[in-house]
């Protein structure tokens, strides 16, 4: 594993344990990383927006 891969892995692990980041966003970010789209700010914003909405939907009583 290269240093960059290790950093990305560590980054995703940190997200997973961050209580302010919904799991839905973490999943989207993981997919973006796999697809090599994590360098696109617009794609990140979309992922955050959709993830936050999805989370709200999923956590609604």
């Amino acid at each position: 594993m290269t240093i960059e891969e290790r950093i990305m892995e560590r980054f995703l692990e940190k997200l997973k344990s961050d209580q302010f980041v919904p799991a839905e966003v973490v999943d989207s970010i993981r997919i973006l990383n796999k697809e090599g789209q994590l360098k696109d700010a617009q794609a990140i914003l979309r992922a955050i927006g959709e993830g936050v909405k999805e989370h709200a939907k999923n956590s609604a009583p």
Binding site: I3, F20, A41, G51, V52
Partner: protein
Amino acid sequence: MPRIQRLDVRGFRGVHTQSSLFFLGRSVLLFGENGTGKSSFVDAIEKLFTGRVSTLDGRAQGISSDRHGPHIHNGANSLAIAVTFDNPAASTFTLSSNTKDLPTEIQQYVVSAHENLYILRRLQILEFIESQPRERYAKLRPFLPLTEVDAVENALRQARERAEAEAQRARQDSERIINQIRREVGLPSSLLAPSEKDVVAALSEALVKIGQHPVGQIQDIEAARSSLDQALAPFGDLSRQSQISNVARTLGQLTELFVSTNLTGLVNSLQEFQDRETREARVFYETVLEQGITWIQEERRDTCPLCQSQIKPDELAIQVQARLEEMREIVQLRRRTQASLEQTRQTIRSGQDLLVALAREVSLMTSEEKDRCQALVQELQNTVKVIWESLTGDLRELKLEQIKTAFSLAGIDSSLQKRIAAERAHLEQILNALPSPEGAQRILSTRNLLLRVKDLWANLERADSRTAELTRQATVAFRLHENAQTARKEEVLGIYDELSEDINHIYTRLHPDENHGGVKLEVRDVGQGSATLKANFYERQDEDPRGYYSDAHLDTLGIGIFLALRRWYRKQRPTFDLLVLDDVLTSVDTAHAVRLSELLLQEFRDYQILLTTHDRIWFEHMRDIQARCRVANNFINKVIHKWTINEGPDLREPEEERRDITHLISEGSGKEIAVMAGRLLEHILQEMRYSLRLSVHAKRGEQYEIGDLWPAFYAAVKKDYPSLYNDARSTLDALDVRWPVRNWIGAHHNQWAQNVSRSTAIDFAKAVSDLYDLVFCDSCRRFISPSATPLGQLSCRCGQKIYPAPGKEAVRPKTREELIKETEGVLRDARLDSQLYLTWKREESGREH
């Protein structure tokens, strides 16, 4: 794994004509006195692989490897550097090679070698230690290939900034709607965030005034409206009145909004700001000054971070503070003006909202009033657009005249305001003419208020909900960016820890049993792009080593850091094994240099090393250490015999010259024979100068020639080594007469020397060849030198060539194996390896205590 087979250099630095350094896939120990061209080979490797030479490029203005790299007698066109590898295809990489044409393994080698992370020169040993944390990080940067991570981090930062800006805009929208509600129900502006209760109370008051029941919450508005509709029923159809009343009221609100805008405040503030900035602060970079002075103070810099000029930090800090103080008024003025601009923009946004409402109300009107009102709405929309455009842009870019002109279109005396006033009067006239009793008007007005507030409240709820959502997104974006930064920081710190551990391992091996070390590389909290160096010194922990370490300790620390970095880089690129150390060993004292050499030869034995030294004794010492560390077969030990401006470094081996003489005697001219014989004689005498410690008159640059060396050699052999003299008498006596032949024919042009016969040159060459056969051993490839015992004996390393001491038997020198066997016991290996010796010493010391 590819290794260098040979390095060919022509017309570069000190190399004039073609010169080849043969590696043959092994490491090379290259000895040459100062100024004999050792570093030319190092420069050539660096130039070929990296395109630059660190001792030239960037060293000083006007000095570059492109300009100063080519040999002074060569044009740049005749420059040639080539490395041939030992791969099956024997690939050659030159300055003009296209890497794509090379085999994959060589391409990888060349790519790895592009970063100069494997060459250390004496001048650069302290470079890392002496650097500032930021520069130090820049030096480490090539070891940290983080291009992809940088791009991701950058995208996350952009996403965070955009999300924060979106959330901010949403908050402003909410505030604007709150202001509208406040205006509608007449709440004081001191009430920053009116609650539903406040709004409901104001509406209830209006309802009670017209004899209606109050409302308990916004949701009750619909019921109140029904109640009002019932109250209005007896008055017949009032929808036209309602439409006209709404439009007239909204036009009134728009007039009030434009008239109440504090344009004078904005214009004056903007005027003052732009004037002062133009007059006083054209080149004022507040952030640069603030951050620059922070760096200078925190990092104790003595050079400017921008231009690298020498600075006096304390004086500069005072100057910068004074400049920031002078500019404080402008900074405050800028903030004030920005706030005023934002306020004006908010007002215009409210106007835009009112216009949207007005357009909707006008669209509901009957045709009689509709056309006139629609034309007015269009004009209002155009005017608001012009005003908005005049307020768009940075404070410095805003055009005062444009703003004034735009606002004058909607000012109190403008034709637009006159049209609004006329239209309102017209609508009032229609309203008054309609059959509507006063009571119905009041009920209608309250009904419209209820509906408007209901709409605004719904808008506010939507805006608040959007604000909350965008704020959540901004928080997530912030966390993403923060986590990415932390992940990188922790990983870099991990790498620093790994490096620190290896630096300490190397440093402790070089300085065993000394109360310092504990070297640490740290990422500073204030930024990721830094590397702080700390070390222990006795009871002092985590100090800057420059504060306590001696120059010699700093030197070894510098070498330790370089070697640890090199080893770390090897982990990333395992197939690239080149390591070049240009004259660095002699920067430390002998004891440390021995340990450093052992460390190099033991822990870096799987590297292809080019090690240069200008110290003859050290060169010989290194050859012994090679044998001790059992890596002698990995090394080629080369000597640069001399250097001239026209011929460059003389790397030829004596055997080659001996063979050439034999060949030339049968085919060459007298001059060729004399030149070659002279060269070999010079080599022999240079070697003898060291081994027999010949006493010669000192010469600048130690460029001794035959004329300087021969008399000393002849006298020393005759006096101190009779057995050699007896064996070599006829040769030595012949040479004592003939050595000037070399100068007559070969070295200097003399007209009369043209008459010297070929046979004279041959006699000279034969005498030189005989001398070579007497003093050089073809078996161990060493010249004879005095034996340690018995005194007066001369022998080669292997003992095949021995000239006994006067009156004594020949004593063959001991081989390494014999020596080990003889010293069986505690000291057997310890004598041969200082590390083992130290371990033994520690054990002994422990037993004594």
